[in-house]
C-alpha cells in the first residue's frame, strides 16, 4: 500500500510555535520522514520535547505509513 495523506496535529506549545493546529503532509513514507519534513518547516521543533501519537497510539522510532494516518505531536502533558 502506498503512503497516503498524513494529517498532522499540533498541540499545546507546539500549536503556538507553528501558529496552527495542524497541516497535511503528502509523500512521506514513515514517521521519521514526517518529523524531518516538519523540522525543516519549523526548526524550533528540534528544541522542543514531544511524544508522537500515530492514530492516537504513542509510537517511537521509524514507523512506516500504510495509507492515511493521523500523526499528533504531543508536548509534555500537564493535565490535572
Amino acid at each position: 500500500m502506498h503512503p497516503g495523506k498524513i494529517k498532522v496535529l499540533f498541540f499545546g506549545q507546539l500549536a503556538e510555535m507553528t501558529g496552527k493546529s495542524g497541516m497535511d503532509l503528502q509523500d512521506v513514507t514513515d514517521t521519521q520522514a514526517a518529523i524531518e519534513t516538519l523540522t525543516r518547516l519549523y526548526p524550533r521543533l528540534s528544541q522542543t520535547p514531544f511524544l508522537l501519537a500515530l492514530d492516537k497510539e504513542i509510537v517511537e522510532g521509524k514507523i512506516p505509513f500504510t495509507g492515511d494516518h493521523t500523526l499528533a505531536l504531543l508536548p509534555p502533558y500537564a493535565g490535572g
Binding site: 496535529l9 498541540f11 499545546g12 506549545q13 500549536a15 503556538e16 501519537a53 492516537k56 499528533a72 504531543l74 508536548p75 509534555p76 502533558y77 500537564a78 493535565g79 490535572g80
Partner: protein, 147 residues
C-alpha cells in the same frame, strides 16, 4: 459496574462545588457503598518569572484523551473492587482557586476507593494528552508542566 461506552470527561470551564455536591448526592440511593474517595485538583497561584498565575487555559487531544481514559477506567475496575468511578476534567479557562479535576470513586469498604482514586489521579497526570497555558498577571503566559 464497568461500562463499555466511552464517556466524556471534559467540562468547559471550572468544575463548580455545586456540581460536585450533586454528584455526591446522586449516590445516596446506592446503599451498598460504604466509602467514597474524592480528589479535587485546584489551580494554584504559582509565582512564575516574578509574576503570578491568574488562570490556566486547558486544551486536550480530546479523542485520544477519552480513549486513554476509557482504558484507565477499565484497568482500574479490573484491579480494584469499585462500585463507581467518575472523572471530570476542565477545558478552557480555570482561575486560580477554582477546581479543574474531579475524581470520585466508591466502594463497599473504604480501601479500594482510596487506592483507586490516588492511582487514577497519577495516571491522568502522566497519561492524558492535556495541556495548560498558565496566564500570568501581566497577561503573558508560560506552559504548565506536571511533576
Amino acid at each position: 459496574m464497568s461500562s463499555h461506552r466511552i464517556r466524556n470527561i471534559f467540562v468547559q470551564g471550572p468544575i463548580s462545588p455545586a456540581f460536585i455536591a450533586e454528584k455526591i448526592a446522586a449516590h445516596s440511593d446506592k446503599t451498598n457503598i460504604g466509602g467514597h474517595s474524592i480528589f479535587l485538583g485546584q489551580v494554584r497561584a504559582d509565582e512564575k518569572e516574578g509574576k503570578t498565575v491568574v488562570s490556566i487555559d486547558y486544551t486536550a487531544y480530546e479523542e485520544m484523551a477519552l480513549e486513554k481514559m476509557h482504558a484507565i477506567r477499565q484497568e482500574t475496575f479490573n484491579k480494584y473492587d469499585l462500585t463507581c468511578m467518575h472523572v471530570y476534567h476542565s477545558l478552557g479557562q480555570v482561575k486560580a482557586g477554582e477546581i479543574s479535576l474531579f475524581v470520585f470513586t466508591s466502594s463497599v469498604h473504604r480501601k479500594p476507593a482510596i487506592d483507586a482514586c490516588a492511582e487514577i489521579v497519577e495516571r491522568i497526570k502522566a497519561e492524558l494528552p492535556v495541556w495548560g497555558r498558565e496566564i500570568l498577571s501581566d497577561e503573558s503566559h508560560v506552559w504548565k508542566e506536571n511533576r
